[in-house]
Subunit: 903 residues, 2 copies
């Protein structure tokens, strides 16, 4: 049996359906589905993603059967439309569009108006009675086709004039200048005919071939160009960011052209069944009269609002579709209602009105920012459109991040200098230095600088730079413009359509009113309100607890998940924030930061500089009451929840200054000679401090330090318990690698604890455990567990040692490794499941074998990474611990882990 490569849809009948996204791509599958639902869709057919895969596996050739299947589908469309492809009197025209399994907006090619030739253009002109429209469509085809098919897909290097697209644009500009027109619409039919001839000559000259005058050649050229564009530079870059596999391939949709630009009874628009920026349950969209779809998305004309409700201060003077074409608007609303009920999710649709007739060109699940995702999910669940589990699955853990993003401080904002206003395309606040090109944004991003990318409009070429910037600000475009779509997907702060800005890339300036800003100047964006301010305003943390939809979704998630979520917090303040975010304990309280306080650093240094045990003990005695106070505060903040406190971890040299000037200050403060200080610094210097004298190695060589810390912890716990605070201290010994090493320290800790408990007469329950961060510890976890009551995986260090990557130094090769796909993701961000993950699994299995009730968690930064949280759930951890702001993300990811499990 020959394979089916072509799927037809049209007039209520379709070969495919919405479930066939992998084969037909999202667009194709949904066109088929809508067709079957009886929604008006211009008929057409879809070439499957299988054809794409075949194409790349067979030196860019097609399956044998394809040609026939296309011809057959084409004839079926001709029958429905009652027109013929290439007919000189009443020709059928096609659009050819990509359509991957997952939407990749703007990343691949599209060719419209396929079928226009020197002969058929006359037929169209006659049939529509609109010669101007016909020739305008023809010159658009020539522009697109010569660029996409003849130059890019053919692999021709752009010549002197930097590519055919730009050269044809110059032709157009030249003609307009000659005729004294400002707008394309002012050109006459004759002008367009002249232009078409000029285009033809220029194409011939620049590309060395003629523009094809055969509709079928045009069609196959366009199909090939779309398949080629799957492996274009932009598409590859986008797939890398989004994590889309390269072997999925794209489908190609060949669909009857309908025109929104044939006159004033024509229109085109883009709409969302709910507001994608806020999640509000209102029909939201933009449209343009007498325009093609690309005009709305490109953001060249500021589009009209779809309905009255969608009007803003900036668009209130523009007529809505609701007002201009009330009947068609009603039809569209009905379709909107059907689609949302059918798909049970917010849809992003494209429509065109051709001479008063409504056609749906696309429906797909709409992108939304985090706030909108949360609200929609919560409200759809309340509407019973979806159940709680589905609602939870609708919010990507990473999307929550943006609800937790900082906002511009309102107080500071009131007195700040407002530069301009635009459309609030991505919520949250952000500050950065102005950069005017995507390349500059990318460069600065690599250097860790915070920048705001300021552009007239953005295009798919800018994606990497947009990703690197803290925020995006455009002078043009609407809420469905490229910049808005992309920023929304990432949850990035973004303002678009900020018309007051006058940007001069060459001069590196941005004018706004009477003021001029330069590249490098700081600005601040309030993406929630769409306002731009001068300078660097303070940002304040978000307050998700005031968002009722967020609370609803999180309460669903908490009911679903089994994995507990703790936080990494070193101060009562952080502990309180984390608790507010739902932390169920502290998984990592680092004690070293406590030593850097002004009142402590000198005692710490005195301890390090002491030459005798007695001297060290004297210094430690000064630190003891301060440490005890630290722990008291944290115990109080976490009343009723466990608190894991890690004993001193970093190497001692981190506490003594390397610079002579500071050393002199230390000499003055401690009464030690500069020479002695320099000698100690030299002695403490290490070639590879990561693998040096730190962690519990300090506990072995200077037991008095750990002894003081344990005493402070338990003493504080006893006092707290006496004051009715429910304390659950967990003493964590870092960097253990061998049972005996840990056994010595556990015994020490226990004997100090028992002594304090006996002395105070308060029996506090406590655990003594260790971090698993050295490969050896994971390998011998059974032995380690024989003396440890809990494990906490320190995946930062474990990754460093297992992969042999110094996190501080990997910058010189890791980008190349990610570029070449050697590691699928940054292993310091997402657990390297195959290597580090293997050790984690082994460590848990061996540990639990030796101690069945071993408590296991993670406190590396991976504890806040959604993919890693899901992995931690899968391997049976009891909890993850992450920074306070990541706690909700981890809670949601933990719920996703359960949902994935049941799939």
């Amino acid at each position: 049996m020959a394979s089916k490569h072509v799927y037809f849809f049209g007039e209520g009948k379709a070969d495919g359906n919405a479930g066939m996204k992998n084969l037909l791509g999202g667009k194709g599958a949904n066109l088929a589905e809508m067709t079957s639902m009886g929604i008006p869709v211009p008929p057409g057919f879809t070439l499957t993603t299988g054809v794409c895969t075949y194409f790349y596996e067979h030196t860019r050739r097609y399956p044998r059967e394809l040609k026939d299947q296309v011809a057959k589908a084409l004839r079926r469309v001709e029958r429905i439309m009652g027109k013929k492809f290439g007919d000189e009197n009443d020709p059928l025209l096609f659009s050819v569009r990509s359509g991957a399994r997952q939407s990749m907006p703007g990343m691949m090619e599209t060719v419209l108006n396929i079928g226009l030739t020197t002969r058929t253009v006359k037929g169209i002109a006659a049939r529509t009675g609109n010669e101007r429209f016909a020739y305008d469509a023809y010159r658009r085809l020539m522009q697109m086709y010569s660029d996409v098919v003849m130059e890019k897909a053919a692999g021709i290097e752009p010549g002197e004039g930097r590519g055919i697209r730009i050269q044809l644009e110059h032709e157009l500009a030249r003609l307009k200048k000659k005729r004294g027109c400002r707008d394309d619409t002012e050109l006459t039919v004759d002008d367009l005919k002249t232009l078409v001839d000029a285009y033809r000559k220029r194409i011939r000259k620049v590309l060395g071939k003629s523009f094809p005058d055969d509709p079928v050649r045009q069609l196959w050229g366009a199909i090939g160009a779309v398949f080629q564009s799957w492996n274009g530079r932009r598409a590859i870059a986008y797939r890398k960011i989004e994590g889309i596999p390269g072997d999925w391939g794209t489908a190609v949709n060949v669909q009857t052209m309908v025109f929104g630009n044939m006159g004033d009874k024509c229109a085109t628009g883009v709409a969302f069944t709910r507001n994608p920026a806020t999640g509000e349950n209102t029909f939201y969209g933009e449209w343009l009269v007498n325009a093609q779809g690309e005009d709305v998305v490109a953001g060249i004309r500021t589009p009209n609002p779809l309905n009255r409700k969608g009007k803003t201060a900036l668009t209130r003077h523009l007529l809505s579709l609701e007002e201009m074409m009330p009947k068609l608007y009603s039809q569209l609303v009905r379709i909107r209602n059907r689609l949302e009920k059918h798909y049970r999710d917010m849809q992003d649709v494209e429509f065109t009105i051709e001479n008063g007739r409504l056609w749906m060109l696309q429906t797909r699940t709409g992108k939304r920012n985090g706030a909108a995702a949360v609200r929609m999910a919560a409200e759809m669940a309340a509407q019973k459109l979806i159940d709680a589990r589905t609602a939870v699955s609708r919010v990507k853990p990473s999307q929550l991040d943006e609800l937790l993003h900082p906002m511009v401080d309102l107080k500071a904002q009131r007195t700040a200098c407002e530069i301009a206003r635009g459309l609030p395309a991505g919520p949250g606040g952000a500050s950065g230095q102005i950069v005017l090109t995507a390349e500059a944004a990318e460069e600065s991003g690599k250097k860790g600088r915070e920048v705001v990318l300021v552009r007239d409009e953005t295009s798919p070429e800018d994606v990497a730079g947009m990703h690197a910037a803290q925020a995006i600000l455009t002078a043009k475009g609407g809420m469905t413009s490229h910049a808005a779509l992309v920023a929304r997907g990432w949850g990035k702060c973004c303002i678009v359509g900020c018309g007051a800005l006058d940007i001069d890339v060459k001069k590196g300036t941005v004018h706004a009113g009477s003021k001029t800003y330069r590249a490098g100047d700081w600005i601040t964006l309030n993406g929630t309100l769409g306002r731009v301010y001068e300078g660097r305003l303070p940002l304040v943390p978000a307050s998700p607890e005031k968002n009722r939809w967020y609370k609803q979704i999180m309460s669903y998630a908490d009911k679903i998940r089994r994995l507990k979520v703790r936080t990494n917090a070193d101060s009562p303040r952080d502990a309180r924030i984390a608790r507010k975010f739902g932390a169920q304990g502290i998984g990592l309280c680092r004690t070293e930061h406590m030593f850097f306080g002004e009142d402590r650093i000198n005692a710490m240094r005195e301890m390090i500089l002491a030459e005798t045990l007695k001297g060290r003990k004297k210094a430690l005695a000064k630190l003891f009451p301060l440490q005890k106070k630290d722990f008291s505060g944290i115990f109080k903040a976490m009343d009723g929840l466990p608190v894991t406190i890690r004993l001193l971890d970093p190497p001692l040299h981190e506490f003594v200054p390397k610079e002579k000037k500071e050393q002199q200050a230390v000499a003055a403060a401690t009464g030690k000679s500069l020479a002695h200080i320099r000698e100690v610094v030299a002695r403490l210097h290490e070639l590879n401090p990561m693998l040096g004298h730190r962690g519990c190695r300090l506990g072995i060589t200077y037991p008095e330090v750990y002894e003081m810390q344990v005493r402070a912890i338990i003493d504080a716990a006893c006092v707290a318990k006496r004051r009715k605070v429910k304390v659950m201290p967990e003493i964590m010994i870092p960097l253990a690698g061998k049972r005996k090493e840990l056994a010595i320290l556990v015994q020490m800790a226990r004997s100090v604890c028992e002594e304090v408990i006996k002395k105070t007469g308060v029996r506090v329950k406590y655990l003594v455990g260790t971090m698993i961060e050295i490969p050896r510890a994971a390998l011998t976890a059974d032995q380690i567990a024989s003396v440890a009551e809990f494990f906490s995986f320190g995946t930062n260090d474990l990754t460093q040692m297992t992969l042999g990557f110094s996190r501080d130094d990997a910058g010189s090769f890791l980008p190349e490794y990610l570029q070449q796909g050697i590691y699928p993701a940054d292993p310091f961000q997402t657990v390297d499941v195959e290597g580090v993950g293997q050790l984690m699994e082994m460590g848990i299995a061996k540990g639990r074998k030796a101690r069945a009730n071993l408590k296991v968690g993670i406190c590396g930064e991976h504890g806040g990474d959604p993919d890693s949280v899901i992995f931690c759930h899968r391997i049976g951890m009891d909890y993850v611990s992450c920074s306070p702001f990541r706690v909700p993300v981890a809670r949601l990811a933990a719920a996703h882990a359960v949902l994935e499990e049941s799939q």
Copy 2:
């Protein structure tokens, strides 16, 4: 049934035998064995090592049954000897000695003359008719007992006078001064009686208790002191060096005293059934007339040679036992012959002649240096006393090391200034700076300085310092003195009894004739000849190939072993040396050292400093012919054997200087600006270079470097093959951690190889493999093996990453870790089997699962460590690779691995 704690021996009957060493200790088991053989042994009994273990597990108490069993055995001895313990007329006296499973000479306590009291001393005096002897024995008991039992074992801290031993010595010295005597023997009976009284008072005053006047109390005091001494400081230190477990415990031997110091018909001696320094099959020993055994070992009097053959230039004026007491000597020779035939190994015996009657006090397998071990094993095998496998097992791999030790260059020696001559106690040559205390030797050793420890004599307290020194030189003592015994055990260069030396520790000087040397001055020892030279003479490598016994043993070993032994060599010269030592290929040829040559370093730096690929390629083109030449030389040297060449491994910053002055020179040589060079150095700087941009990460980021190296390897191989050299190149990619990373580089290497092979028309067979030195590589070895044809474990780095120990920095805590027994051995010396070893086993198992014929070796320094070699054999490696001088050690260890396997 009550346990048997006491084993009797005497008059031809014994409860134990030589096979019961674990229970009775070496001494006790052999006393039983000799007794059963009918050899004259003073009767006695042994308290088992089980009693020792019980003692430490039960807060230093004894098993209930012990008292009765001792009493019973004691009565049996009394019956045989016809004397009673504590009898006022004819008392039986006992010695109480330690005796562990493995000999720990001088590390534990001994108490002699137990049973002498104010009453029995008179009985002895009357019975022997030698009052002087009786009181001398009594004061010796008091000295020993008060020190060992009353002070040390009781845990009394030495007071002002630094301990009872020294205080009693002062009493003796005072008395001698008062009497004007130089020697103890000049003291009269009355003097001794006075001394005994003075001792009694002093003991009472210093220790606060009376010297016990009850024989049974004395006996139990002595037994307890010996058990206590098992956990004395010295014993623990010795066990650590020798790797003896702390829970073995010691037995205690209670044996009838016989006296070598009752007059001129008495004597005592120590002998070896073969010469322990050379291995020669001649009876070899030393003795003293009218002396106790301790006098021979202590080295206070230079002892007489045992026989004519044993006389040296230094001892030829002394009478031998053979000459003085020919009949007893003949009896001793007969015993010697019986013992060696019985034990089939060289024995170290102690004997005492009491009034013309010979008693054997001990036999044990004698320590020997490497050369002697090799010769004895080879000759005993030739004699058919033992088989080849036993012969091989008789030579510890580490002992071979000393045959391979350098010797003093003979030419230099001829014109050198000889300082003094002594006894050649440890062969080989060594140079070092003079140090006069063990502490100074230890200190210097830690700093990596080479020192020679120069002492009058050494004692067990000096062990750590002796270990740290390159060589040991003593002014006193014979071939069985402490220094000689210890040095022999370690195969260390040592000269003893060098009487010409006059050492003043306080002034830090050594006089020899008219010359004076100071601490810090360089001297050189020829331990094989017993000569000491001024200054630092050149040393030459050993030539074991001229030693026929060595060749015999190695040929046995090679027949037994299955593991291949390769070498780590970076030059044709090293390759040739290693081949001479039996290397079966090169397991690691590092290419980076090649870049440091004067003709190359500038091209290398030019490459690093180049800002473009073109610039790097230009510099690499200069390096290519030089690299090719390097490889040609190595291929020629290893004709017929495989050569594994590792591609560039160290980080690039190792090739550019950090100092401004040198940077200026580089600027001049390369034509780059100093600023650029400093910028590059700053950019290349890493916080943790061990985990940084090195190894195959360079291959990924600068593929052109590896490409040049691979081209040079294969080009050289093709040329060599054309010249009839049998080449077997193995290209090794270092530091791989992930399959894809390696796959990219393997593919690159293969395509370069195939290109060169095609171009030259010479089909060279080659392998491409990798090092396993990152934990992740071992964990995912199945994946790695899918693209690698061989694995070579880089256990240096693997240990660093698996344990999280930076080798360069571990010095600040690793000694403490070894001290506390956290790691049983330095993991950089001996594979940490539990952790690193687990990864190695896993790596091999997974690797072979993916590729059945995967070749596996090791090229870390562990490849030359005997224990690690045995482990490598056990986990199924194909070969180990080590430095040229360790190759014979590894060959022998590989044979031992097979022997252990069959046990």
